[in-house]
């Protein structure tokens, strides 16, 4: 009977005890992806994530464009965090082409990528807030995000799709008053973050809904290869910025944020703590940054990569973001593989949702810091 159905379709008998629910891809509770959930009464018995609705073939597109042309389209999977997704690409291409980055550019990159981490995390936090019925937490981060976007706009000229990092440095130098403006806004933002703590993270309603739901144990977090806030909320201290410091992160003063609970509350709190650390990093980097100097190493036109390969990773807003670039001595990369945190964290959805109540699904799903567009690439 099932063989006559079109692919992807399935039949279900009405009198079956188990009911199948398709959450998404148009459902606002899931983003651009589908969760095929089977429920027994109110409890989820299985969950099958079905991504791919926004698959755009970034990896294939990268094989047709040269190393510089690849910059603006490779940030499209996650435009809110566009500096961090270009970061590993630039690091890998620099390794392949043998480019040295000027010291000032390294600091500017760190500042831009930390600002972008906050911009992404605020966007995610506002969605997390609205899905838990906390509309103040939707309004506040969206408003505060604009301040940081203004800073990035002053840096790069674009609100979200910056295309600011290039192999060899950054595209342009900072505007003249950037440092004091950045310091002022980051100081203000840090004050605002303390208010988030009071209104959202200490809110008893939020705590009731998220504490103890979707618990991921430390062993499972390691075994499933999760990354980012999911991993660090389960008690594994693994931050790429600390473990494999790139650019100037080893000179800067910050801590990697780890919680031990492994539940939805801890998973939603680690990105918040990361934002506080980002403020520290930005202020420290502004202090230590060379006040003048080159920000970009000029490349030869149409640089070639040699017969080599590079795998570089950074800590993005959603965890480790690795780029595997294979070059075959042509002006285009032979293969670009983007290994993103969202895709790697997707594997724990079936584990976390099994046995949960259906009503807890948004609290667990959004706490994974999952960005469907990035997972699909």
């Amino acid at each position: 009977m099932t063989t006559q159905l079109p692919p992807g379709m399935q039949l279900e008998r009405v009198d079956e005890r188990i009911m199948t629910l398709n959450v998404g891809p148009q459902h606002p509770g899931s983003g651009h992806m589908r969760l095929i959930i089977k429920v027994d009464g109110d409890y989820i018995v299985s969950c099958d994530p079905d991504p791919g609705y926004v698959h755009r073939g970034e990896e294939k597109m990268a094989e047709y464009r040269n190393y510089i042309q690849n910059i603006p389209h490779l940030e499209r999977p996650v435009i809110h965090d566009s500096c961090n997704i270009l970061y590993p690409y630039c690091l890998a291409v620099e390794e392949l082409l043998g480019i040295e980055v000027p010291e000032r550019a390294k600091y500017i990159r760190v500042i831009a990528s930390e600002l972008n981490r906050c911009v992404y995390t605020l966007y995610w936090l506002s969605i997390y807030g609205i899905f838990l019925g906390h509309s103040t937490m939707f309004m506040w981060p969206m408003g505060d995000r604009e301040l940081l976007i203004d800073l990035l706009e002053a840096l790069s000229g674009a609100r979200v799709t910056h295309a600011y990092f290039v192999p060899g440095g950054v595209r342009n130098d900072t505007p003249s008053n950037f440092e004091e403006r950045c310091l002022r806004q980051v100081n203000y933002f840090e004050k605002r973050l303390k208010e988030y703590e009071d209104i959202f993270y200490q809110n008893p309603v939020l705590k009731q809904r998220t504490e103890g739901t979707g618990i991921l144990s430390r062993m499972d977090a390691i075994r499933l290869g999760t990354t980012g806030s999911v991993l660090r909320s389960a008690g594994v201290d693994f931050d790429i910025r600390k473990k494999e410091p790139y650019d100037v992160y080893e000179n800067l003063d910050f801590q990697s944020q780890v919680l031990k609970e492994g539940d939805s509350y801890a998973r939603s709190r680690v990105p918040y703590l990361d934002m506080l650390e980002s403020c520290r990093i930005i202020k420290d980097a502004l202090k230590k940054m060379p006040k003048s100097g080159s920000v970009r190493t000029k490349l030869k036109p149409n640089p070639k990569g040699g017969n080599d390969e590079a795998y570089r990773r950074v800590e993005s807003g959603r965890g480790a973001l690795g780029m595997y670039v294979v070059s075959d001595n042509k002006i285009e990369p032979y293969r670009v593989k983007i290994s993103v945190g969202s895709f790697r964290n997707m594997i724990c959805m079936p584990y976390l949702l099994k046995g949960e109540k259906l009503g807890n699904m948004p609290a667990v799903y959004w706490s994974l810091n999952y960005w469907p567009v990035e997972a699909d690439r």
Binding site: P7, G52, E59, E244, E250, N307, Y324, K337
Partner: protein, 204 residues
């Protein structure tokens, strides 16, 4: 692929690096950070690679040894043994990515596993690249032709979705994978696997 142009190392610096016992965990001096990134001294990486080669002999070939990156090439018949050794003895506990690379000229598809370790702090920087090459057929028939290899899902649980992606994008069938379904592509995709080199994007 084996050669690496890190020959511009200053000789004085390499001597200095060798003079004191360098372990991977030794603190990098802040003042000499620039030099230490320029001059690779991958002794720790060499020791890991030599452990693998001494265990498996000719079954494994060292692709390259760079700072924090090791590449081991192996045959698909031996990949389960090599991968279990890496997990059990070398403490690599998860896969960061599984990439397929198509080489139509040599009629091969390469599957590349990037392995990392969360539990061993010494290995936190390391990415172990485990690669194997499979035969490639000009007219692919995913799941039914000779482009297949054993799945590493029982060894590294984290490869589950990565291998599903590799199956649909390059037509590599993973024997023993419990769930060899499409992941990102639509269910009614009727063309050849899109990341093969002979799949042309329209208009290009």
């Amino acid at each position: 692929m084996t050669s690496k142009k890190k020959t511009n190392a200053e000789p004085s610096e390499t001597v200095e690096e060798k003079s004191h016992p360098v372990t991977e965990e030794s603190k990098p001096e802040v003042a000499k950070k620039e030099e230490s990134t320029l001059v690779p001294e991958p002794t720790f990486e060499k020791s890991i690679a030599s452990r693998i080669v001494s265990k498996f002999g000719t079954k494994t070939v060292i692709g390259f040894i760079k700072p924090n990156r090791i590449r081991i090439n192996t045959k698909k018949e031996d990949i389960l043994d090599v991968a279990s050794y890496m997990r059990d003895e070398l403490n690599f506990d998860h896969a960061e990515s599984v990439s397929g690379v198509d080489y139509p000229e040599s009629k091969e598809i390469e599957v590349v596993y990037h392995l990392g370790s969360y539990s061993d702090p010494q290995l936190a920087k390391q990415i172990l690249t485990l690669a194997t090459r499979l035969p490639r057929e000009d007219v692919p028939n995913p799941g039914k032709d000779s482009t297949r290899m054993p799945s590493l899902r029982d060894i590294f649980y984290s490869v589950e979705f990565h291998e599903r992606e590799c199956f649909e994008m390059l037509g590599v069938y993973f024997d023993g994978h419990p769930d060899n379904r499409r992941l990102l592509l639509p269910e009614d995709w009727a063309d050849i696997p899109p990341l093969r080199k002979d799949f042309r994007v329209k208009g290009r």
